[in-house]
Amino acid sequence: MSLAPARFPMGLSIPLGAELAALAAVGLLGVVGYVVFPDDLAFLTRLISITLLVLSLDLVTGYCGVATLGQAALFGVAAYAAGNACIAGLTNPFLLLIVGMLAGVVTGILSGLLIGRFRGLQQLVLSIAFGELVAALANKLTPWTGGSDGLSGITPAPVFGVFDFDLYGRTPYWLSVGTLAIVMAALAAFVRSPFSLTCEAIRDDDLRARMIGLAVYPRLIAMYAVSGAVAGAGGALTAITTGVVGLDSVSFERSAEVLVMLVLGGAGRLWGALMGAILFQVFEHYVTTSNPYSWLALVGLMLIAIVVFAPGGLMRGVDLARRRWMRRRA
């Protein structure tokens, strides 16, 4: 039920159904992760912050059709902002999350102002330029970023004043699961809003969207702001849970990698972004440890297989299978 594409106007539906389903599903995934990989909580925690970045990318790329290879900027700036706030004495993890989200919103709006005016290749190139600019700044502004050494010494206070960021990594893990669950539930409501529907219309045909009275540019910037909040939550989580922020969080590779995860799972779908992010990172984690020499080649082969056999991403494949199954039952 929850996996069905949420469509406006939906007619009959369970109130808060999609939102509660998102909360429950992420919570369940969190429990499964905890039980199956008890020794890999640090990996799962990292996975969750990257998953938030993939979700944020889905909002601009999947829902608005913006081609971007600079999304990591939103994530990285937020991570540095939360890290610096923590070092400056603001140690409450929830306040740090808010700081990261605000930093993400500001970076998102700047990014949207720059690349929202353009389409296609120009947009892609500008997004790369924006990402590189932020990466270059991160490298130069050593007082706030630590340059290539990274920003370290981030020690947040215990969550709720009780749960320490200990060596077992349980606190950061559950903090991350909780954040992801809340973000997923909020986004489940958001993507079926009138505003999101207009973004999908702009993605499908921006000229036609103008002809029904939609102002395209302000809407893209607004979506970038929301996207920045989500990416910012991910960035802040990395800073809080690992205690360090490196240049990799603003890197081009990070931007490219999350785009691959999104395409893998299925752009334009929240669950696609979530599944793509989880599967890619779990696959990468196992293949790198079992086959450290040719793991990239294996990732490449997997991607080719997905693009050839399920061009709309994994979620599209799930949809088609479900449809076929329902037709057979009918």
Partner: protein, 254 residues
């Protein structure tokens, strides 16, 4: 009475070619006007200039007494100017209901809401159903628009135009490319347009023009060369010459 749409001295050139040459016309509320002319006469360019898709090099466009010449296409649409396209342009990944819900949301100032309210959702859905019902499309409310036959897609395009509740509706060859057996659907939809809307339709099919229009405007080489009732147009030698001339010209070039 203020004209629904008044165009004065509108001009547009591409390079050295005058595609729209000093065109003036006026539509009043309830007008049913056909815009005809040989291929390349500049009919679609004229619609593009009015809708704001193209900017004119000269002249002015007034919508209900308000100068819209310099406004963006989106603002013109918000002020009550709607158009359809010669080649159907729909939001192809969305359902029929969503395609029609978008202009309804826009018209009610709900399109900026970041969260959906169930009350609004139900009201919008009801209105989508009512509108689609008029066009015999009610059963497709939740069908992805790309799964419809082409004639039905043209109807959805018209439905989007209607859902904007425009004062002026510009239809760019609504029956073009529609299979013969589906054409009556389009005709029926056009016949049922609200009587107070001013409608201007580009059309080649004289049969359809005769049934629809009270007035016919003839465009040739960017100029309005004739205006009159359908039967006057059919009888006019100048109009004949314009059509024949362009055909002879076209053949000469080939």
């Amino acid at each position: 009475m203020t004209a629904a749409l008044r165009i004065e001295g509108l001009a547009r050139h591409f390079g050295g070619v005058m595609v729209t040459n000093d065109v003036s016309l006026e539509l009043v509320s309830g007008d049913r006007v056909a815009l005809i002319g040989p291929n390349g006469a500049g009919k679609t360019t004229l619609v593009n200039l009015i809708s704001g898709h193209l900017k004119p090099n000269g002249g002015s466009i007034m919508l209900e007494g308000r100068d819209i010449t310099r406004m963006s296409a989106a603002r013109r649409a918000r002020l009550g100017l709607a158009r359809t396209f010669q080649i159907t342009r729909l939001f192809h990944s969305l359902t029929v209901g969503q395609n029609v819900a978008l202009p309804i949301l826009q018209g009610r100032n709900l399109s900026r809401r970041l969260l959906s309210r169930r009350r609004d959702e139900r009201a919008v859905r009801r209105d989508c159903e009512a509108l689609l019902d008029e066009l015999n499309l009610a059963e497709f409310l939740d069908t992805p628009v790309r799964e419809l036959a082409y004639g039905q897609q043209r109807l959805v395009d018209i439905a989007i135009g209607l859902a904007l509740e425009p004062r002026v509706l510009l239809l760019d060859e609504p029956a073009a490319g529609v299979p013969h057996d589906e054409a009556p659907l389009i005709l029926g939809a056009i016949a049922r347009l609200r009587p107070d809307i001013a409608v201007m339709m580009i059309e080649h099919d004289m049969d359809l023009v005769f049934r629809f229009a009270k007035r016919v405007l003839v465009l040739a080489e960017g100029r309005l060369i004739f205006a009159g009732s359908p039967s006057e147009v059919a009888a006019d030698p100048g109009v004949r010459r314009a059509y024949l001339g362009s055909y002879a010209h076209g053949r000469g070039e080939a």
